[in-house]
């Protein structure tokens, strides 16, 4: 089953000053896709993600989400199309888990961050879905890395963007927590019909859950199926 194309990247060249890819990237992703961005250290995974969320300007090319070109809309509007989960959530002083999750509604609220009843309902709904009711009143600093991560992902869902990017979401989790997280994310992608893209170094676990792999290698980015990735000689190449 294929969802509609939500993320469309055309002729994208990214990098700091020098391009990190020798071949412009043309790639797209659909609603319901659960994509793992794979690449060795220094190939530009983080730069690629930074370019998608707008921290870095693309050296060339266009990114559009649901047919809306990102370079034509304001930074604030962009946060209604794409949300981002950093690999490590800051341990903010005196912030509650619920406050963290509520930040997801800020692209829709006014300057005083007044949330409507509808906003609150969305927040409550996802808190239930993520099973976070027990810890919403806790301080961020009181819960484990895994729970904080989960709250941050819940926040991304509350933001209701068609595309969600996660930078190495498994980096600080133990083996079982990693598997749990990825299977949860996979479920979210299909049930909520979102396009989730994450970077990851745990290739065996990632390959087990994701629907596609975006392989960043030899200065080019290509979309491969999990089978193609496992049998394509990527592993033997670097051994």
């Amino acid at each position: 089953m294929m969802g509609e194309v939500v993320l469309n990247i055309e002729g994208l060249v990214f990098g700091h000053k020098a391009p990190l890819v020798s071949q412009a990237v043309d790639i797209s992703a659909s609603a319901g896709d659960f994509i793992c961005l794979v690449g060795r250290n220094g190939t530009g995974k983080t730069t690629m993600l930074s370019t998608l969320i707008g921290v870095k300007k693309p050296l060339a090319g266009h990114i559009s989400i649901c047919g809306v070109p990102l370079d034509r809309i304001s930074a604030r509007e962009k946060s209604r199309y794409i949300s981002f989960v950093p690999s490590k959530v800051e341990a903010v002083l005196n912030m509650r888990i619920r406050d963290l999750i509520a930040v997801g509604r800020s692209p829709y609220t006014n300057i005083f961050d007044r949330r409507t009843k509808a906003d609150e309902a969305i927040i409550e709904d996802f808190i239930q879905k993520f099973g976070l009711s027990d810890i919403v009143a806790s301080m961020i600093t009181e819960v484990s890395d895994g729970e904080r991560q989960k709250a941050m992902i819940c926040r991304a869902m509350v933001q209701q963007t068609p595309v969600i990017l996660l930078d190495e979401p498994t980096a600080f989790l133990d083996f079982f927590a990693k598997r749990k997280l990825l299977s949860d994310l996979k479920k979210i992608a299909s049930e909520e019909n979102r396009c989730i893209i994450f970077s990851c170094h745990d290739l065996e676990i990632a390959a087990k859950y994701c629907s596609h792999i975006w392989l960043l290698d030899d200065r080019k980015l290509e979309s491969v199926t999990v089978d193609e990735f496992l049998n394509g000689g990527y592993f033997s190449k670097y051994q």
Partner: protein
Amino acid sequence: MNRSLSYIIKYALIIFALIALAILDVCTGSNKIPLSDIMDYIFGSSDMSVDYQFTIREFRLARLITAMIAGAALSVSGLLMQTIFRNPLAGPYVLGISNGASLGVAVIVLGSGMFLPSADVSNFAILIAAGLGAAAVLMLILAVSLRVRDILSILIVGILVSGVVASVVNVMQFFSNEVNVKSYVVWTMGSLDSVSFNDSVVLIPVCLIMCAVLYMFSKKLNILLLGEQFAVSMGLNIKWLRVIIFIGVSVLTGAVTAFCGPLGFIGLAVPHISRWIFNTSDHFVLVPASMILGAAFLLCGDILSHTLYSQGVLPINAVISILGAPFIIWIVFKNQRTVI
């Protein structure tokens, strides 16, 4: 929601404390006014003596307003700096703004002594000099923050600028005469008494408008707490946010320093007290809370500096540090888990 109810109760309590301290502050001074007289006057049951009325109108009111505004302005500045630098040790002075103001004052107070025999510098000249010094450092910091992305680099530049400016002042002290050095040192001890009612008329609108403007950025600051990369993904323009906050904080600390000297400690401590009392990181709550608590804190300092020593007024800076530090240490210990 019971959380907003608890905020309302806490706000009511600290506002009540502030009012009580304000009344107490009006009573204290070289010429003591009995509390009962003031209470009677407030509730309109009797007239106060003309003598007292004159004292209050000419001296106490200006001092009271200055203390409250300065405390509020420095506390808000400290809160915002802690958020922007994402460092609980940051305060209104990390950018070196007040050192800039000090340099301005040093140039005029100490410099005049190098060429003129006596140091008779007017209050107005000190104000202008402090303002110019603060503005000069602000320009430097803005130039750096528009070029440099890394917030730690900006922090390092700020600290280095403070250091350099302080050293320049040291050299000037070395070459200056005793009288001028003494009057400069006295200025650095801080004072709430040198502000006249006319001066405070300038200070009030500047500080209140600035605090109101900065309050408008609470939503952005709340997002920034979760990290810069994340904030950008939420549509924040970090560079401009920094520039605006730096300008606001500089105006606040520059104005307060110009009028009262470099008042230490409050800007660092009060944001922590607010977080501790309100148990939140929400700037919509913390900005007004810091203003009220900062005002109350400086009033405490002012009252104590006038009452601890019967022969005169102790330097306010010393009083707030000596009495405030143990309190903060206690909070840090109580709050250990959440202090990074």
